[in-house]
């Protein structure tokens, strides 16, 4: 199955925009992806003609809104291969999902002297909630090594999995380097030892088919806004038995069964974790994003991005003084790089001058930057709507930048 990029680009109104007199080359989808018209329309239609609060009203509008919202739960479950749609919890984003697990599962299961194993390539969202938990509980964080190409040292990780290890949490795809981790194998290593697993899938779900059932992790989290949906809708996937055993997260409306001043009983999973009115329209928009992606096919998306990654790697290497950071063989379409004479921040500003949007900085992965020996990098992160022309525009602008700072 091939992909008609020119046709796809017409589905994303913002990609037709000019930036500083040049066509916009949007190469920051790793930070947040652009939205197709179908998502914008779904939200607009919902607000125009379908909006009401959910799980409350007995009137038609509320019943329809509830059905539409719950239908997205089923869509997400199918999209990521979950066995049971009750395993899908809607939250704001991946960060909130990880914090939920740390605050509920973590509070109940991690104690003094226990260990949590992470990797050097984690996003701050998959570090800080665990540090906060470890501090509360007197637990220890242990960190699996990576090599100079940004590849996880699986032997070292295995050596860290001991009798006190309660959790292995790792990223499916590194946001800063693009490294794709052998997620199913890592989960298997942990499960053999009775260790709970959490996968940060924020950079995987937008770019490749994901089957959470096959991966087998206890928890899998991602953000809808990186999957071409609106901001405000994210997902925690948890195995039903885990979610069912966990204490609730936020207390309030919608997450209860019966409330009295003598005590409260909680709603079943997943409502137990969805207190208060959620971001209903964002969930609706997220559903439209999934429909849109399924129309194209995640296999086709992954294939096109892989082709672009090869082209971009080759072209970037022709820029004098440019060094790519992160050279894993199994890699998503993320290109982190530094220039000999120009700081990433200056690269970012210079590229912007030519209509090229990239991210510059530490990518919320300061430990990783330290490990790779750079204070920051410039990062081009691609999506299926990018083209070879976008890469050419990037490379031309980088050549000019290198000249300016030479």
């Amino acid at each position: 199955m091939t992909l008609d990029v020119e046709k796809i680009r017409k589905d994303f109104p913002i990609l037709g925009k000019e930036m500083r007199g040049r066509p916009l080359a949007y190469l920051d989808s790793g930070a947040s992806a652009q939205k197709p018209q179908a998502v914008i329309d779904a939200m607009s239609d919902f607000y125009s003609s379908g909006y009401a609060n959910i799980h409350r009203g007995v009137y038609q509008l509320s019943a329809d809104a509830t059905l539409a919202y719950e239908a997205v739960r089923g869509k997400v479950a199918r999209f990521i291969g979950a066995r049971d749609e009750r395993e899908i919890v809607f939250l704001r984003n991946a960060t909130e999902a990880i914090n939920l697990v740390a605050r509920t599962w973590g509070e109940a299961n991690v104690g003094e002297g226990d260990e949590i194993v992470l990797t050097w390539m984690e996003h701050h969202a998959n570090i800080v909630p665990w540090q906060m938990l470890a501090e509360r509980k007197g637990a220890t964080i242990r960190v699996a090594e990576i090599d100079d190409d940004g590849v996880l040292d699986v032997d070292h990780l295995t050596s860290l999995l001991g009798p006190r290890t309660k959790l292995l949490a790792f990223t499916h795809v590194s946001n800063a380097l693009g490294t794709i981790n052998p997620a199913a194998a890592l989960v298997a290593l942990a499960r053999e030892r009775g260790i709970t697993t959490l996968i940060d899938g924020a950079q995987a779900v937008p770019h490749q088919p994901v089957d959470v059932d096959a991966l087998g992790a206890d928890f899998y989290v991602f953000s809808g806004h990186k999957v071409f949906g609106p901001s405000g809708a994210g997902v925690l996937h948890g195995r039903f038995a885990q979610l069912d055993a966990m204490p609730p997260f936020l207390g309030g409306g919608d997450m209860i069964e019966v409330v009295s001043f003598d005590g409260t009983t909680f709603a079943p999973v997943p409502q137990k974790f969805e207190a208060g009115t959620p971001d209903i329209a964002s969930v609706i928009g997220f559903g439209a994003a999934i429909d849109y992606l399924e129309g194209i096919g995640m296999e086709a998306i992954a294939a096109w991005e892989h082709e672009l990654l090869g082209y971009a790697t080759e072209r970037l290497e022709t820029v004098p003084g440019l060094r790519i950071i992160g050279r894993a063989k199994e890699k998503a379409a993320v290109l982190s790089f530094v220039l000999e004479d120009a700081h990433p921040h200056d690269i970012g500003t210079c590229l912007d001058g030519d209509g090229v949007a990239i991210r510059a900085g530490h990518h919320c992965a300061q430990p990783l930057m330290n490990r790779m020996g750079v204070p920051a990098t410039a990062r081009a992160s691609l999506a299926f709507y990018n083209t070879r022309e976008d890469i050419d525009q990037l490379v031309d602008a980088l050549r000019k930048t290198a000249e300016l700072f030479a």
Binding site: R20, D341, A342, H343, P344, H345, D346, T349, C350, G353, D354, A360, G361, H362, Q366, M369, P375, A376, A397, K400, T401, L404, F405
Partner: protein
């Protein structure tokens, strides 16, 4: 990219490549770290206050973008030998220059070579880079160990 010449003037590019006073002052009477958490820029500012209360020596070390390095370099030249009151007034003027509206005429009185940073007004995301060294200098003189631009 031609507009960028307004931001990256030759003076800024020169000071970025060869910053002035880029060294450690051993046993400085005042020092502070400046840190921009957004982009990871980090510098240490050293200041030596003489008996008459003026700045006998000032220097910096660290990593950062061209704007923050050049700003630190030009700042050290600019404030050398001045009194604390004069430095504070300079910071106010410099801050006003880089945060003023680009549609107004840039007010560069008393700023000397620092006037080259008028181009930063067009790039609000870069104001923190331009002012990092100044924040660190103020923190050092006030006896605060770390200055952050956020």
């Amino acid at each position: 990219m031609d507009d960028l010449r307004e931001l990256y003037q030759a003076t800024i590019l020169g000071h970025n490549k060869k910053p002035r006073n880029f060294r450690v002052i051993e046993h400085a009477s005042h020092e502070a770290d400046g840190h921009n958490p957004l982009c990871g820029d980090q510098l240490t500012l050293y200041a030596q206050i003489g008996p008459d209360g003026t700045l006998d020596d000032v220097s910096f070390q660290g990593t950062g973008c061209a704007i923050s390095r050049a700003s630190a370099s030009l700042m050290t030249d600019h404030v050398m030998g001045k009194s604390l009151e004069e430095i504070e007034a300079d910071f106010d003027r410099f801050h006003e220059l880089v945060t003023s509206s680009p549609s107004e005429e840039a007010r560069t009185d008393g700023l000397g070579k620092l006037a080259v940073f008028a181009g930063v007004r067009e790039y609000p995301m870069r104001v923190k880079c331009a002012t990092l060294a100044w924040h660190a200098l103020r923190a050092a003189l006030e006896g605060v160990a770390t200055a952050k631009t956020e």
